[in-house]
Chain length 152, copies 2
């Protein structure tokens, strides 16, 4: 039953992308995407993912909370990325990775420590990493890899 992981990843994305106002609403969004689960399950997912419910001027909405679990030890990209990764974008041979607050440093270190020939180097801010790749092709490989890791 590793449907769960996948589903929770989708939940992450939806919550990060759309304006989700209730678990029932989220259930429908998931249903449209082929994930048929009950609101109960989503309640549990929200808990697992630490998705916070915050009141806004225009009603309530969910938002992914700051995973202060950033205080992790040296870990592999595979273990870090699913936790801290938020999204990614690129131009030419540059990749900009967005992470949860305090997530940039650990991921950046993990990338560096792999010593990939595709990567010239990385620079990490608080929640943003700049990865300088050797070429467009290299950039494509790296980006693809990160996205794959994030989806697991």
């Amino acid at each position: 039953m590793s449907q769960k992981r996948e589903r929770q990843q989708v939940v992450r994305e939806l919550v990060g992308t759309r304006t989700v106002g209730s678990q029932e609403e989220l259930r429908q969004l998931l249903a449209e995407r082929g994930w048929e689960v009950t609101q109960s399950t989503l309640s549990r997912d929200m808990h697992d993912l630490r998705v916070a419910r915050v009141p806004t001027p225009g009603g309530v909405r969910y938002t992914t909370a700051d995973t202060s679990a950033a205080a992790e030890n040296r870990a592999t990209l595979a273990s870090l990325v699913p936790q801290l990764f938020q999204r990614l974008d690129f131009v030419r041979e540059l990749i900009v990775v967005k992470t949860v607050v305090a997530g940039a440093q650990p991921i950046s270190e993990a990338i560096d420590s792999e010593g990939s020939p595709d990567v010239l180097g990385t620079i990490a801010g608080e929640n943003t990493i700049l990865i300088i790749c050797r070429s467009d092709a290299a950039r494509e490989r790296v980006a693809k890899r990160l996205l794959a890791l994030a989806r697991k």
Copy 2:
């Protein structure tokens, strides 16, 4: 009726200090301190104060600091740039902004929080910001905007 302001201030403190797990619990804490209100009122207070409800391993709890609220409270570029900006230079889709000491972080955050499609991300040092733009055209727009703000 400026009881409200005072009470909300106390709510802020309590939520920041103690581990509050429900509005009912908060109501009791307030009662102990002489503030007799109903849960209804607290629901409204929570909304006003944008207090988020986040799930934790040991159950739910309330907390004030959260990214989206923080983003809304953040200063605008327009207010920051005239104060902190010094100069700017660029190459291809990169912009390097020089600021007064300690000025990089706030400006960088302000840029990020605007969520412009022109900007892939920013990385801030102490007095230098690297802005990665989506394209040359995007870089031109962003640079022009910053310069315009700086001139005001």
